[in-house]
Symmetry: C2
Subunit: 684 residues, 2 copies
């Protein structure tokens, strides 16, 4: 989920869920529980089961934290440049900077295999609430309840994987009131077909991020392979001839990462006063650190680029959320809605016992604030590898259902794909990050803390990081395999300093993880009760908070009024050149050479970006936007700045989802990038 | 002092003061207590009283936080570009960016008057310890003791100002064991004569900052005027023909800002675990905020530049300090030294009662950690003006000695010079800073805090800041004068929203300031006792921690060994071009056009920068470096990265002070900047 948390936030929303029944085009709907009545009564369109199944199976999830769709029978996958960027970065070298300069494969042979990408296509959804909840007994302690739930979930996932061969995930919905089993077909041979330059994909840079009007070609295309051949895809989206027009109803199918609309105001106050400020301090710390590292040279700038982008993006998104929570107009509306709900709960003798759930949440947030001050948090790829090996060796000695969830049998293949990835790791950058993590741990625990002293081993954070990174063998994938296959014995005997370091800090990491797990468990139980109270009062025709699983959102293409100005629903390709001219001398506003060369041949009137009222958030990046006929009309890539409170509350007044228009992608491929051969495949 | 704290840190040091007697070239010596014996025995040079007086009076202090010297009888003042940058920035406009592009006055008429610069020339030092300490009685509460001390100090300053017409400051030395009265001649008509481009002055940017070898022309020249004519200066430095050679003993006279060498290990642990991490979070917050603002356009980049530079510089310096404190090799040496001192104190029945001072410091640091979480801290120029007006109106109703020190009579002229400055204030930038300060206050106090709610007045931090900045009249200097002259009545009647806002938050600011004052007082008393213990055990021939007053440091020109490499003592002007070539494609390493044009005419062999072992720190920036004959041989501008622990401990192993060589300044003026007319004045 980290990738989702740190990935681009594309957000927009109208009226809070706790405010009673949802209204307008609010909602991130489950594919097995679509708002058919609302769509029919409001838009005169009732989606059929076939419609839903085709759309569901046309979608793919990027496990690094994003959404995408199949756009041809030949396995083409369309997503955002900023969703593909993790892979674009891993495929780049000092000599060939694909992330910055873009890429085009002219033949299948030129398609570049991603080192560790896993795409998931959702095949089925099944309600397993009874089975999961049946395993947890009233009288259990939170710790036992958590263990019991983990065990039954691991069992369901293992059995499902074994039976179907599909990736099988049990998803916790409505904060724990429902559990659904999601089964996915996995694609692990994914190859890069086309990506534009960062200057086109992220035109306007950090300044324009989350702004609108916008002029970004935030798109790229991969292809999935099976048995070393392009996969044959049954469910894919047709390419709309003209794209969406103003006022037209559109649908978004994607994987929103996480929302907190069910949160009590105590939980929101904790976010506002404690968690977001601390997280922002951490993000700014990393931002400045990576900028400093990048100042050392152009190659260092390149190495830090993808990470820095993710951090800057997250910082801007979180700042928007915090600003929303700090606005009494937003917060007070949540408080009023909660008060109303609670008074109804108190008024109903059957529901009254559920009210204590709010007290539980107040207590857990207070304890969270304390736990957040503890622990060891290390950001280093090589350390993560060492720590995974150390934990795996220990966990594998237990039955699958008793392990930490990421080490359960069902997820082993995905875990090993990451662990054995041969994507480049830059030890100099990793060393800078590790040194900073050690310093950060010292700041949290105090320099005199005994574990801090053991971590330092008599030297400074930077000297210690240098000794660890410069003497580890874990850059070598073969070495990782040897340790993984050697299990606990190999780990115990290893003289690799990073393995030894991971063993040193693992008990403390486990201790704090366990405290957080216990708090999670208490909150899961409390939110399940809150959800039951809401089902009882508001009915069940609502949607659960986002869980990085497939959801349907919808809304018309629609501009808005801001400070007396009319913001148009659609921008044009010619507008990108005007925007460039208006920002002369600012590097982030230089369109790439390819655009300048093609300028005269381009149809400047082609729609470039557009906005709708759909209810989306981070993780939706790369989601297809389709019309009623399931033709692709756009590609979600952002939300405007007014939408950044969507984590807590939806609004459609001025908050909007921002998409790349399907026609711009086609025009750019054809005219700017000379990729007619790809255009010919689209939708076919 | 804020300016000093946020200004460039030029640092370098060898063996901690608490470690017993000072050793090697350690020390920031008082001009009325120079280490004559040490200099004579080690270097065979005994400075005379005339020598000391001439050097003292040749020095000037920049009240914005830096050092400088007179270098001609015609009032020329030499300092660093980064010390002058505050004024260079204030003299810049959208059309004429003096800070970036440099400036050269060809005639006196072209010399540009600084809007609010005050330079101080130290004229006399007088011991007033008995008078100050006599006012504080044993039985007084900390609060009463502080009031009594403030009163007697204000009285001494007022009387001295009245008698001499000089600026008169009582300086607290040795943490409160000694009080000296410093009297200064003030220069308030200061004009810019010459400044190079930032690209030459800060060549290598943030990446090279605090690094060595270095290639920076970090210099600029002002001229002081009296009665609208160039001032005639009696004490000024001659310009050395060849500058300092390797191994030669040199002296540094300047105003080191603040060191903490007397700090107990409890106080250092507080710095390490609490204060520096919090300060760094704040600095990074401002850094990212100003970068974001700068992304809006080239003019915004210019407006944020000077502030951003100061913050980045401070961030890098503080990070170096923190790294030093986190290194057990540094911290343990302080702990050992303290243990040794304490055991001697305990062993001596007369000294034993002084040991409780260490306990006091432990208690005050614990309370500081709590107080630091409280309060309102607002960074906005317009707010600062409003708040100054509000506080002044209230303080002026009391006798001078009972006021907050900055409102005492003796300092009124300097205060009004700042308050009535017509230096540009950019409301859009100020609004961004104010919005962030309000958000920061909310984060600290919690969004539900009653004062936070009053601060917001029902809107968001950014909406509130917009309303305050867009509706205040305080941009207008005449309006400020009207309010200042109208006193408490005018303030009470004012409908200016920023005045009303300052009145709203002032009680909370005063409450927290008072808590900090009380802690300061307890620490002053405790450190005075610790200093007495040290005088008793180590003798009085030592130096006090830095206090942004004139000190003498010294040491030879000397390279060093680092990781097996020999770092040369001196760099050459030709090296700057090589350094540029080695960093192609990195904007901070582009020398200005003027250097490229002059390249063939330059004597590339001219020394550019050099290092010595002198004990300096932030505030020393701009200090003249002189030889035994009091000829100017260099200009301090930085310390290397190894010197950043100098706040707590001096070392001469690899820590060094970095200077611009006097010959480079002359060569650059003559050949690059066509300023032969200035060269003709130098030293004459």
């Amino acid at each position: 989920m980290l990738r989702t948390l740190l990935s681009r936030f594309a957000c927009l929303m109208a009226v809070c869920l706790l405010a009673g029944s949802s209204s307008a085009d609010e909602g991130m709907w489950l594919f097995n529980d679509l708002p058919r009545d609302y769509l029919e009564s409001t838009y005169g369109f009732r989606p059929s089961d076939e419609w839903a199944e085709h759309l569901m199976k046309s979608c793919v999830r990027f496990n690094v934290g994003g959404s995408a769709s199949f756009v041809s029978s030949t396995g083409l996958v369309l997503t955002n440049h900023h969703v593909g960027s993790d892979t674009l970065f891993k495929l780049s070298t000092k000599e060939r900077n694909i992330l910055e300069q873009g890429y085009l494969a002219r033949t299948h042979d030129e398609e570049l295999k991603a080192p560790d990408l896993e795409l998931n296509q959702l095949i089925s959804i099944q309600d397993v609430t009874a089975e999961v909840q049946g395993a947890v007994k009233e009288e259990m302690s939170p710790e036992d309840a958590l263990a019991a739930r983990r065990k039954v979930i691991a069992g369901i996932e293992s059995a499902a994987t074994e039976e179907s061969g599909l990736r099988s995930d049990v998803v916790t919905l409505y904060g724990g009131a429902r559990y659904h089993l999601y089964q996915y077909k996995k694609f692990t041979d994914v190859r890069l077909v086309w990506a534009p330059e960062t200057a086109a994909a992220f035109f306007g840079g950090d300044a324009d991020n989350f702004e609108y009007p916008r002029y970004c070609l935030d798109a790229c295309i991969f292809r999935v392979y099976e048995d070393d051949k392009p996969a044959r895809i049954q469910h894919f989206l047709k390419w709309s001839e003209d794209g969406a027009g103003e006022g037209e109803l559109t649908f978004v199918a994607g994987n929103p990462g996480r929302t907190s609309r069910i949160f009590t105001t105590d939980a929101l106050a904790y976010q506002r006063d404690t968690r977001l400020p601390a997280l922002l301090n951490l993000l700014r710390r990393l931002e400045v650190l990576l900028q400093q590292y990048g100042l050392e040279g152009t190659e260092q700038t390149r190495r830090a680029r993808d990470d820095l982008f993710g951090i800057q993006n997250s910082r801007k998104a979180r700042l928007g959320m915090l600003a929303g929570l700090q606005d009494p107009r937003v917060f007070d509306s949540k408080r009023e809605a909660e008060k109303e709900l609670l008074s109804k709960v108190q008024a109903d003798p059957e529901l009254r016992p559920l009210a204590e759930a709010w007290t539980t949440i107040r207590e857990t947030t207070e304890r969270r604030a304390e736990v957040a001050k503890e622990g060891v948090r290390i950001r280093s790829q090589l350390f993560t590898i060492a720590h995974t090996l150390v934990q795996m060796a220990e966990e594998d000695q237990k039955p699958s259902g008793d392990r930490l969830p990421r080490f359960a049998e069902a997820g082993r293949a995905s875990l090993l794909q990451q662990l054995y990835s041969d994507a480049p790791i830059y030890p100099d950058l990793d060393q800078v990050l590790l040194a900073d993590s050690i310093a950060y741990t010292l700041e949290k625990s105090g320099g005199d803390d005994p574990l801090s002293q053991q971590i330092l081993d008599g030297t400074s954070p930077s000297d210690r990081a240098a000794a660890l990174i410069q003497n580890t063998s874990l850059l070598d994938v073969a070495e990782r395999k040897k340790l993984a296959e050697g299990g606990a014995e190999a780990i115990a005997a290893s003289e690799d300093p990073l393995i030894q370091f991971a063993r040193l800090v693992d008990p403390e990491i486990r201790r704090v993880d366990k405290l957080n797990d216990q708090l999670d468990e208490l909150e899961t139980q409390a939110y399940a009760r809150i959800a039951e109270a809401r089902f009882a009062i508001e009915g069940t025709s609502t949607y659960p908070d986002a869980t990085f699983t497939l959801r349907l959102a919808f809304g018309p293409v629609k501009g808005y009024e801001l400070a007396g100005e009319t913001i148009p629903a659609v921008t044009r390709m010619s507008g990108a050149f005007e925007h460039e001219a208006n920002h002369e001398g600012q590097a982030d506003y230089d369109l790439p050479e390819s655009w300048h060369r093609a300028k005269d041949s381009l149809n400047g009137n082609t729609p470039l970006n557009f906005v709708t009222t759909a209810d989306i958030i981070g993780g939706n990046s790369g989601s297809p936007v389709v019309n009623q006929d399931l033709e692709l009309v756009g590609l979600i890539f952002d939300g405007n700045i007014q939408s950044l409170t969507a984590d807590f509350v939806y609004s459609d007044t001025v908050a909007r989802a921002v998409s790349v228009h399907s026609s711009a992608i086609r025009e750019a491929l054809q005219v700017i990038y000379g990729a007619g051969h790809i255009v010919d495949e689209l939708g076919k």
